[in-house]
């Protein structure tokens, strides 16, 4: 049955709240406003103000509170409006949530889910357009999920809540309205591994999150031109599914990584390094990357489009690699 990415997120939260009384949602405007992106619309009326908890603008404070609540036996879903504002909460995420288990010698764990909207493309300029999930994927102790499909938006949250570690869920702003078929059950669903969205033989297109739809679009265009490429959706950025990445490259011998982070020091660099480390002798050409241009995001549309990889860019790069 079809639903939008937004609806899927809402259903996921609703279902989680119903199944487990310990689960609650906390963040700015999640209650009375219905959610900045309307994800939690209607949930306040259903669950009340203690379980759909509006907070003041205190990212560092309420993220730390989320950690404490998780330590104290609840299952909080902290919603930080966007990844841009999560920088205010970075200390609690990196210096506490990520390290408490290791630092306490395994005594304490932090079963916390933090949801954030991420990505550019809506002309919101430099301070509202970051895509930092690759940055967060650098931190041991965190797990990072990036749903790029409606199905993932629907079923990743439940598995994130089941995980005893802090899980960061990055929801892409440009995908909220996208509508796709979604299975009615989570049977067989696994949030933690990559998936081949389109099998192919000549080139591995590796992408995740907001870049997935345009990568699939590019793959269709390439197919029409007789170029059979594979699209691998990473889905989980930490831990990275090495096995899937390497298997794909072993098959196609060529890899193009599409990553919305800024190119230097991005997750695509890490993936490239792993391919070189583990599949060097399977490569028939250098690994290539399409990433965000290294600029703060500008407001004007044509500049913003030029800064983020588009489907046409992916097609052109792929053709260049398959010449």
């Amino acid at each position: 049955m079809k639903r939008t990415y937004r609806e899927a997120l809402r259903e996921a939260i609703d279902e989680a709240m119903q199944k487990d009384e310990r689960v609650f949602l906390m963040g700015e405007d999640v209650g009375a406003y219905g959610g900045t992106y309307a994800v939690s619309k209607g949930l306040l009326a259903k669950y009340g103000p203690e379980r759909i908890r509006d907070t003041p603008l205190s990212e560092l404070g309420f993220t730390g509170i989320g950690i404490g609540a998780a330590l104290g036996g609840l299952r909080p879903i902290v919603e930080i409006m966007t990844v841009n504002f999560s920088l205010l909460a970075l200390d609690q995420i990196v210096n506490s949530a990520a390290v408490l288990h290791h630092m306490s010698g395994g005594q304490f764990n932090v079963p916390l889910v933090i949801r954030m909207t991420t990505g550019g493309g809506r002309q919101l300029a430099a301070q509202h357009s970051n895509a930092l999930e690759g940055w967060y994927a650098h931190i041991p102790g965190l797990k990072i999920l990036t749903p790029g499909t409606v199905e993932d938006a629907r079923y990743m949250l439940a598995q994130a809540l089941e995980d005893p570690n802090p899980v960061l869920l990055f929801e892409h702003a440009m995908l909220l309205n996208s509508e796709q078929d979604c299975p009615e059950t989570a049977e067989g669903f696994d949030a933690w591994h990559a998936r081949i969205r389109k099998p192919g033989t000549r080139l591995s297109l590796i992408a995740y999150g907001g870049m997935l739809p345009r990568t699939l679009e590019a793959a269709e265009t390439l197919k029409g031109d007789g170029l059979d490429v594979e699209v691998l959706d990473l889905r989980c950025l930490r831990p990275l599914d090495d096995a899937a990445i390497i298997a794909s490259v072993r098959k196609t011998h060529r890899a193009l990584i599409v990553d919305e982070g800024w190119k230097s020091g991005s997750l695509s660099a890490e993936i490239c390094a792993r391919i070189v480390e583990q599949a060097f002798y399977d490569l028939d050409a250098p690994v290539q990357r399409l990433c965000r241009r290294e600029v703060p995001m500008p407001y004007a549309k044509h500049l913003e489009d030029a800064a983020i990889p588009q489907a046409a860019d992916i097609v052109a790069k792929a053709k260049e690699m398959l010449r």
Partner: protein, 325 residues
């Protein structure tokens, strides 16, 4: 408070004092490494508050937390082994002086980020309230932490949501090397708490009995469901901020003046004068404590190192063998 209880209060202070002195000595011998922040001079605060803390209550503190950890019930041997970085330490040797943890004793650290534990304390209190538990959360921090934005965010939310937190501000007048008057426009921490509609009391942090009394008042208030309470303890550390601090920011005369108010010396003198305690009892305390601490040191010295092969264990919960990226 009856005689025996007051004697007990003195003994807890003596335990902290002796443990901290030994740590200082062991640090100079390189048995303890990294940073070491000693509580000497401030013992009355921990002793007074912790006397009210029950097993089911939660405590979260700072990097100057050895005394709090000891009085929460973590054995001195586990604390000492942790200082030594050994496997039998309360954090498996992974935390050291600043990161003492015990799940069993509901001691949530030991935090090296100033103010880092404050929102977590509020979160623990939120969970307790939400789950309907009879559980208070005690949050220790210095007056320096009040400068951090996170204190204000946390205080606001604790009050707004009426959460069962006892905020214990240990005002020892110096945030590392910066005196309070040089860093705060409003030097009353209690005033700041009241600005968030939190009930607050100023406490003589060098007087164990005042600490005990006022803490009791705070605990009663919080247990009644009135929301958080804030205690500002006026205290002083006799030692530098940490072991490697040359104390250029304060004069010896000031330190000596405060030493005259040593909480242990004054309480001991008072109890002896009142007849609540005898010299023989004090000597017995000292002997008991010496044995406790020396065996803790021996335990630590004999404890093994965690095998380096286990480095990647416990990065993630739920998977014991190694944390893959």
């Amino acid at each position: 408070m009856d005689k025996a209880w007051r004697g007990f209060l003195l003994k807890t202070m003596l335990r902290i004092r002796r443990m901290e002195e030994l740590c200082a000595e062991l640090y100079t011998q390189e048995k303890i490494r990294g940073f070491l922040h000693l509580y000497i001079g401030e013992e009355a605060v921990a002793s007074g508050v912790m006397a009210h803390v029950r097993r089911q209550d939660s405590v979260i503190a700072t990097y100057r937390e050895h005394g709090h950890a000891l009085l929460k019930g973590i054995p001195a041997s586990a604390i000492m082994a942790e200082m030594f970085g050994r496997l039998d330490g309360c954090s498996r040797g992974r935390g050291g002086s600043m990161h003492l943890f015990s799940r069993e004793h509901r001691f949530f650290g030991g935090n090296a980020i100033v103010g880092g534990g404050i929102p977590q304390a509020v979160g623990l209190a939120l969970a307790a309230k939400q789950l309907g538990e009879d559980r208070l959360t005690f949050c220790f921090f210095g007056e320096g932490a009040v400068a951090e934005g996170v204190f204000h965010e946390s205080a606001n939310l604790a009050a707004l949501w009426r959460l069962p937190v006892v905020f214990c501000c240990e005002n020892n007048r110096y945030a590392m090397g910066t005196a309070l008057e040089r860093s705060e426009s409003q030097t009353s921490m209690a005033a700041k708490a009241r600005a968030y509609a939190i009930d607050a009391l100023e406490v003589d942090g060098m007087d164990g009995l005042d600490c005990y009394d006022k803490s009791g008042h705070a605990v009663e208030s919080v247990r009644s469901g009135a929301g958080p309470f804030f205690l500002e303890f006026n205290t002083y550390r006799f030692r530098p901020h940490s072991m490697f601090d040359p104390e250029l920011y304060r004069g010896k005369a000031e330190v000596d003046a405060w030493k005259k108010h040593c909480p242990i010396a004054t309480l001991k003198a008072r109890l002896l004068t009142e007849g609540a305690l005898t010299e023989a009892q004090v000597a017995q305390y000292a002997a008991d404590i010496e044995q406790e601490m020396q065996s803790a040191v021996a335990f630590a010295q004999a404890s093994p190192w965690e095998p380096a092969a286990d480095l990647e264990r416990f990065v993630y919960a739920g998977r014991d063998s190694g944390g893959s990226a």
